[in-house]
């Protein structure tokens, strides 16, 4: 159910909206979604959120924890995917923008303990966007590898800056930043856990954090889906496909690129903010350059340029630690040995190369291919039947 609910939310213009020929009537018109993007995306978002919340009741605390971390990654990868797939630029530093968001959110929450954490998350998002503008402004004006190189430089530099001793009092140095008041489940939820009949819904805090993460990811996906069906989304695509033609059409190319980059940095900031809210603490080694590269790998695995692909990528990344540990156990490799500890990086790196060379669409392309194929066969048969009935 969860999968279906979000699947259509992922593809901004899925095949379902492209009614083929006027004469034939596809079978899926019966589930036609609202035409207005906002209504459509909200509906799908609410459905997806509901389904995932139901899911959190059926899995244990470990899985809920992984689910909440996955949700953070979904928010980050969705922004990265829009940047790469829709606007045609690539960032190798979104892990660093996550750090910006996480530290901003954490400092804000520690500084204003009475405010709701949503405000701190907003601050983290805005901080991510601002850093994105500063880093992106010089590099996005140029075509070529400047943005990728600059973001990689930022990702390499950032952990050392965060750990810089002069700022330990603010950023916590090597030992990291801890939330003094991590959000706790509200009292009414805790009360209900004692209520007879509702005790099955007993709230573990991991479940509550999973809700926070999922809500953040769903809001991000809804906003990005709306952005993509707006003027900005069309401008992103125009600039990606032909920057000269876009410029001639009156699109401000440099500004469009910066907007796309700042959007992805804002998503990363929000993902980082959610991360610290859920985990309660971060330190400089949370956001090494390898995280940024892993995010790119997860995006490619999920499917570049589709929001649903970001969901697959985020889930794979969030659960990958467990899966890799299982895999090394199955292969008889000690997970803490040199081989076991680097298995994840080796697999993600190899997948990155193989997928880009052989199947650049990732998981989402595979799914939508088989979906379209099934739908196409069905439609063709209906159309044939209809034609025959019309003839007789």
């Amino acid at each position: 159910m969860s999968v279906e609910g979000l699947e259509t939310a992922g593809a901004p213009v899925p095949a379902a909206q492209q009614t083929p020929t006027p004469g034939s009537q596809p079978w899926f018109t019966r589930v036609r979604l609202p035409r207005q993007p906002l209504v459509r995306h909200l509906l799908l978002g609410v459905l997806g959120f509901g389904a995932l919340v139901l899911l959190t009741f059926n899995v244990n605390a470990t899985a809920n924890n992984e689910l909440s971390v996955s949700a953070c990654y979904v928010a980050v990868i969705a922004g990265l995917s829009v940047l790469t797939g829709i606007s045609g630029q690539i960032s190798l530093g979104n892990g660093a923008f996550m750090a910006v968001g996480a530290y901003t959110t954490g400092i804000w929450m520690n500084h204003y303990p009475s405010q709701p954490f949503i405000i701190a998350l907003l601050a983290g998002t805005i901080a991510g966007a601002l850093f994105g503008i500063v880093i992106g402004m010089p590099a996005t004006r140029l075509s070529g590898p400047y943005l990728a190189g600059m973001t990689l430089a930022f990702a390499v530099a950032l952990p050392q800056i965060v750990a810089y001793q002069g700022w330990t009092s603010v950023l916590g140095g090597e030992s990291g930043l801890e939330l003094s008041n991590q959000p706790q489940p509200p009292q009414w939820l805790l009360n209900h856990s004692q209520t007879p009949g509702l005790s099955a819904f007993g709230i573990a805090s991991s479940r509550y954090y999973a809700w926070i993460g999922i809500a953040g990811a769903v809001v991000t996906l809804i906003l990005l889906a709306n952005l993509l069906s707006s003027r900005f989304g069309r401008q992103f695509r125009a600039v990606r496909d032909d920057d000269v033609a876009a410029e001639l059409m009156g699109i401000h190319v440099a500004r469009t690129r910066v907007i796309a980059f700042a959007t992805s940095a804002a998503c990363a900031g929000l993902g980082g903010g959610l991360f610290i809210v859920i985990q309660g603490a971060v330190d400089p080694t949370t956001f090494l350059v390898s995280l940024s590269i892993t995010l790119v790998a997860a995006m490619v695995i999920g499917g570049i340029g589709t929001l649903m692909g970001a969901v697959w990528g985020g889930v794979i990344l969030g659960f990958s630690n467990t899966w890799i540990t299982d895999l090394s156990n199955a292969l008889g490799i000690n997970p803490t040995s040199n081989v076991g500890a680097n298995l994840q990086a080796a697999i993600f790196g190899s997948l990155l190369i193989i997928l880009i060379l052989a199947a650049p669409g990732g998981i989402q392309r595979l799914i939508s291919y088989s979906y379209l194929k099934a739908a196409g066969r069905f439609t063709a048969r209906r159309a044939r039947e209809k034609d025959i009935s019309a003839l007789t």
């Binding site: 500063v134 004006r141 040199n338 880009i356």
Partner: protein, 298 residues
């Protein structure tokens, strides 16, 4: 305490030696960029792996110079293999595909190196003393090893210049980079020239890796060239990505800026200071300091 051993001059001497290593990486990046218009994100990792290969031979009793030669040959082969197997299939595809492939290659190389040799730093022997020269009774922060570094980089730079300027092969390579179609019509094996550009870059990277491993006892470990790669990229970008001489001067600038910031503030701030230098340069002169502006820039 004379001027030569002052903090400023110490940082300057160290900055020159560091800058020369960044310049080598930058030079390798420029060669690859000229050949295929790809920024080789795995340049640092390839150099690291070549250094580890040399290190393994050293452990088995091979001398410093033969090991260096082995690293160079290995870098040469890996560079060619990377172009043939990873870059050629991405030709004609979106611009980000080679970037993603090379980032994947970087991840794989670092993971494999960590699997084989572990994450810890290994000491790499130095063929010359690391203790500074004594000038007029004071010890300066410039050792015979630093001199060896500067001379090696200088020789490579002269060699590259001579290759492009005076040899038939260099002329063919320039033609392939400048006008592939015309060069092909005139009988140049363009694809072979591109591979050769990558091979030279791989070999230069290997030299940089070996030089860096013993420099100030940096050692060799799977991620030891990440930062050097970043500095090298920024040096190349400051020089305009197209110009080998710009790469050398860019490396020197980055080395000095990095060492001044490390010396007067903290080594943790050096990377961001260098990023700021790049931001300023790109804002003022987007095409780099030493490159001619391109005709098409949107």
């Amino acid at each position: 305490m004379s001027f030569l051993s002052s903090q400023f001059m110490s940082a300057t001497f160290d900055g020159i030696a560091n800058g020369m290593i960044y310049a080598l990486i930058a030079l390798a990046l420029v060669l690859v960029w000229q050949a295929t218009h790809v920024l080789n994100f795995a340049q640092g990792a390839m150099a690291m792996f070549s250094t580890f290969i040399a290190f393994t031979f050293l452990e088995h009793g091979v001398g410093y110079w033969p090991a260096l030669l082995i690293a160079i040959i290995f870098g040469f082969l890996v560079g060619g293999a990377a172009e043939r197997l990873l870059i050629r299939p991405t030709r004609g595809k979106p611009e980000i595909n080679p970037v993603v492939v090379m980032v994947g290659f970087l991840t794989v190389i670092e993971a494999i190196a960590a699997m084989i040799w572990g994450p810890n730093s290994r000491t790499y022997p130095s063929p010359f003393s690391q203790i500074g020269f004594t000038v007029g009774g004071t010890t300066i922060n410039f050792s015979p090893y630093d001199l060896y570094t500067v001379i090696t980089v200088g020789l490579i730079a002269v060699g590259i210049y001579a290759l492009f300027r005076y040899t038939n092969l260099g002329l063919k390579m320039r033609a392939s980079a400048f006008a592939p179609e015309v060069a092909r019509l005139l009988g140049v094996r363009v694809s072979r020239m591109l591979t050769f550009g990558w091979m030279i870059a791989g070999a230069i990277g290997a030299v940089a890796g070996v030089l860096y491993a013993a420099h100030n006892n940096a050692g060799v470990y799977p991620t030891n060239l990440d930062l050097v790669f970043v500095f090298g990229f920024i040096a190349a970008a400051i020089g305009g990505l197209e110009s080998p001489s710009g790469a050398i001067i860019g490396g020197l600038i980055i080395g000095l800026v990095g060492d001044y910031v490390s010396s007067y503030y903290s080594s943790g701030l050096a990377p961001i200071a260098v990023v700021v230098v790049l931001i300023i340069v790109l804002m003022i002169r987007p095409q780099g300091i030493f490159a001619r502006p391109a005709a098409r820039r949107v």
